[in-house]
């Protein structure tokens, strides 16, 4: 890197930091303690505080909601290095992400790669502005791990598609405005080839949802019913029959997100929790068995972070790392599951409360339950291991 580029980046870093310090309200620099702290946008969006609104609006004006998308889509047009600097500075100050969105983390990348110029201009800016909240309609009662076996039917009626079927496990289905769906447009061809990728406005007639209660006692996902829903043909992304290719591409992004790559808030440091909950004897945790488990966990946690760093560096140097999203998904989620398993063990009786103010309405116990879904959503751990075995290691199918 030559000196003038380096100098410019130093200036960019300084200016970024100064801007964040001046514009990010104090309360938006506090760690996220509950899912309610996150702003998701959408037609029915509500801010939990003025600070949250101010922070979102300022970042929007600065074009830093999705800093790395092109400006014509409402992005900030930052290159990789600038984006990295911005992320680093936000992390240093503890700034929260101004907007959480499946539109940014999942649909956006797929549209950028597969949609027409017109479709990109229509959907991407609305994502950036937080106007439309998206959810994912992949799974069906009969199609989970075997996603390509999906049966939701989209019939070509000339000027529109007529959609019938049922989706399930739709995260935030009841809070979202639009759903990106996998549908079957062709029943004659092999199962992967008959799938298409369709965007559906959930305000359309025939779309309804029913919440499903989770073991965490919350219900952030739904069954989603599609009964004779008319969908304009322009809502189909790319060609009919390309749905599976798009879905797989999108899943790699989803998996990295679930695996914790580019993760948001800082999770609790287990060794600190351990010191507080268990206490020390001669400077050593008083429970020696838990101590070794925490030490092992923190080893893997630290090295997993270095692995993200290394693989990003390798990608920059041009070494392709395609199927590695399965590695991130598998390892990252299993780590998170162990983190909460240990948190519960460390907290003992105090971690078991399900209700009441003292436990913040059973926050830990509920989070613990929720993490069990990490190794299921976005493709189960077993499916990730299958992908690694076949695609990376080249082991044969039976």
């Amino acid at each position: 890197m030559n000196d003038s580029i380096k100098q410019n980046l130093d200036i960019f870093r300084k200016e970024t930091r100064a801007w964040l310090e001046a514009n990010c309200p104090e309360s938006m620099r506090q760690p996220v303690t509950s899912p309610n702290d996150l702003y998701w946008g959408g037609r029915n969006a509500k801010y939990i505080s003025d600070d949250q609104r101010i922070w979102f609006e300022r970042m929007l004006e600065k074009k830093w909601i999705v800093p790395y998308w092109e400006e014509k889509y409402g992005g900030g047009g930052l290159n990789n290095i600038e984006h990295k600097i911005l992320t680093e500075e936000m992390t240093k100050l503890g700034c929260r992400k101004p907007l959480f969105s499946f539109g940014i983390s999942m649909l956006g990348p797929a549209l950028l790669k597969f949609a027409t110029a017109e479709q990109k201009l229509k959907y991407l800016p609305e994502i950036v502005q937080g106007k439309i909240r998206w959810c994912q309609g992949y799974s069906e009662p009969g199609a989970g791990s075997d996603l390509a076996g999906l049966q939701t039917k989209a019939e070509d009626m000339g000027d529109h598609y007529l959609v019938n079927g049922q989706k399930v496990w739709t995260s935030y289905g009841d809070k979202s405005d639009w759903i990106f769906c996998l549908v079957r447009t062709n029943f004659e061809v092999s199962k992967h080839k008959g799938v298409s990728f369709l965007l559906i406005d959930m305000a359309s007639e025939g779309v309804s949802t029913r919440p499903i209660k989770l073991i965490s006692g919350k219900s952030p996902f739904t069954e989603t019913f599609l009964d004779n829903v008319k969908v304009p043909k322009g809502n189909l992304i790319n060609e009919p029959g390309q749905g599976w290719t798009i879905a797989k591409y999108l899943l790699t992004h989803e998996r990295q997100m679930i695996g914790g790559v580019g993760e948001t808030g800082t999770p609790p440091q287990l060794s600190e929790v351990a010191q507080e909950c268990i206490g020390l004897t001669n400077g050593i945790l008083s429970d020696s068995i838990l101590r070794s488990k925490v030490a092992k966990f923190e080893m893997d946690e630290a090295i997993f972070d270095y692995t993200i760093e290394r693989i990003i560096d390798e990608a920059k140097a041009g070494n392709n790392s395609g199927a590695l999203s399965s590695f991130f998904k598998y390892y990252g989620t299993e780590l998170n599951i162990s983190r909460y398993e240990l948190m519960l063990a460390l907290q003992g009786y105090d971690g078991l409360a399900w209700e009441g103010e003292a436990s913040n309405e059973g926050q830990l116990a509920r989070l613990f339950c929720r993490t069990k879904g990490n190794s299921i959503e976005g493709g189960t751990s077993e499916i990730q291991l299958n992908i690694i075995a076949k695609r990376i290691l080249g082991l044969p199918s039976s």
């Binding site: 060794s271 351990a274 400077g283 101590r291 630290a302 290394r310 560096d313 390892y331 291991l385 082991l395």
Partner: protein, 380 residues
């Protein structure tokens, strides 16, 4: 500091791979073992390694080395880990060479470093005394008598000790056993009166001698006193660098054992199909793959930290040695299991990795030692 190697380092790695492919292969180690070779490594191969510059990689140019850095040496160690090549690289270059480079005064450096770079001497690193790695457990005494120190004690696990020309000896000038203060490092000629060595051939067919020091008299200026923070700090830093070097070697062994196992899964047939089609085995392979991704990251991260003289060296060294210890154990165990009966035979080479894994696991601290150390660093 990106976590990738440079083109130059890659070139070095490739040429070492080429050299070791034939001359350093496991057949070579097997032959040394079966011939009960008195030295325990192949002197001719070592000479070729020296000619390639490997013995001088981390020695400054001013002292006859290449000043190429530890990330480069790590690539070499990784290759010797793949081929299980026995050589004085660990004893003389990684351990003793590092201690002298860090702790020697100009005279000591001028005298010893060019000899190491030239491949002319073997220097055993004599630090261990107990059943397990324990840097502070030093009973060996160095008593000042006029112009000399007199050393008394016994050292274990002195790699290449039976053929060493010199030793770096860790001894105590004062303080109780287990205290940091009072620990010092000395350069001792192996021929000095009062030294006896017992060769111990280990499970991995390499050598680690038991060395007895009885009233061994050395001149007072044999102490390595050039390190600002004193003897114990010098020892810890040397050990941390060597732990990272060993982790790099272990990464080579892990990769090689894993690749051989995967190749076998693609070749062996049972029930009329290739055993690699069985999902139970595929998942075990995939889990190992994931763990190895972590191994690669911590090794490169730690190697780069040595060259950058990072203040975080100790933590990274323990992370590297702990993780690689865990995963070399896993991969070498799975290797035998997935090879089935043939994995238990001496003819099949996979067993050599199991044996090396156990020896290198203990050397300079096993996974338990380093997890404990990491926990202490984080005050729990």
């Amino acid at each position: 500091m990106p976590l990738i190697i440079t083109e130059e380092q890659q070139m070095l790695k490739t040429s070492v791979k080429e050299l070791l492919k034939n001359k350093g292969a496991i057949t070579n180690l097997r032959k040394l073992r079966d011939d009960s070779d008195p030295i325990g490594f192949d002197k001719e191969l070592w000479k070729e390694m020296v000619d390639l510059g490997l013995s001088g990689l981390v020695i400054p140019e001013a002292y006859g080395g290449l000043g190429f850095g530890y990330t480069g040496l790590g690539q070499v160690l990784e290759e010797t880990g793949r081929t299980l090549t026995a050589s004085p690289l660990v004893s003389t270059v990684l351990l003793s060479g590092t201690a002298i480079r860090l702790g020697g005064d100009v005279m000591q450096k001028e005298q010893l470093l060019p000899e190491i770079a030239g491949g002319n001497i073997v220097i055993g690193f004599a630090s261990e005394e107990g059943k397990h790695h324990a840097p502070k457990l030093v009973k060996t005494a160095a008593t000042l008598q006029g112009d000399s120190y007199v050393i008394n004690g016994t050292k274990k696990m002195v790699l290449d000790g039976h053929v060493a020309d010199k030793f770096i000896v860790v001894a105590r000038t004062n303080g109780a056993v287990d205290e940091e203060a009072g620990i010092e490092l000395f350069v001792v000629d192996a021929k000095t009166e009062g030294i006896t060595t017992e060769r111990i051939i280990m499970m991995d067919s390499r050598n680690a001698a038991l060395v007895h020091f009885k009233d061994v008299k050395i001149s007072a200026n044999s102490r390595l006193d050039g390190f600002t923070n004193g003897g114990y700090a010098l020892l810890e830093k040397t050990l941390d660098i060597a732990r990272i070097g060993l982790a790099a070697e272990m990464l080579g062994g892990v990769n090689e054992a894993f690749e051989r196992t995967i190749a076998y899964l693609k070749e062996r047939q049972q029930f009329g199909v290739i055993i690699g089609t069985f999902q139970a085995l595929q998942h075990r392979a995939a889990k190992m793959f994931c763990e190895i991704e972590l191994c690669k990251s911590i090794v490169i991260k730690a190697l780069k930290a040595i060259d950058a003289d990072s203040p975080d060296l100790a933590r990274l060294a323990s992370l590297a040695k702990a993780k690689l210890g865990e995963i070399y154990q896993l991969v070498s165990n799975e290797g035998i299991q997935l090879f089935g009966g043939i994995g238990m035979t001496d003819d099949e080479e996979i067993g050599f990795f199991l044996k090396r894994a156990r020896v290198v696991q203990q050397t300079l601290g096993d996974t338990n030692f380093h997890l404990d150390r990491l926990a202490r660093m984080r005050f729990f």
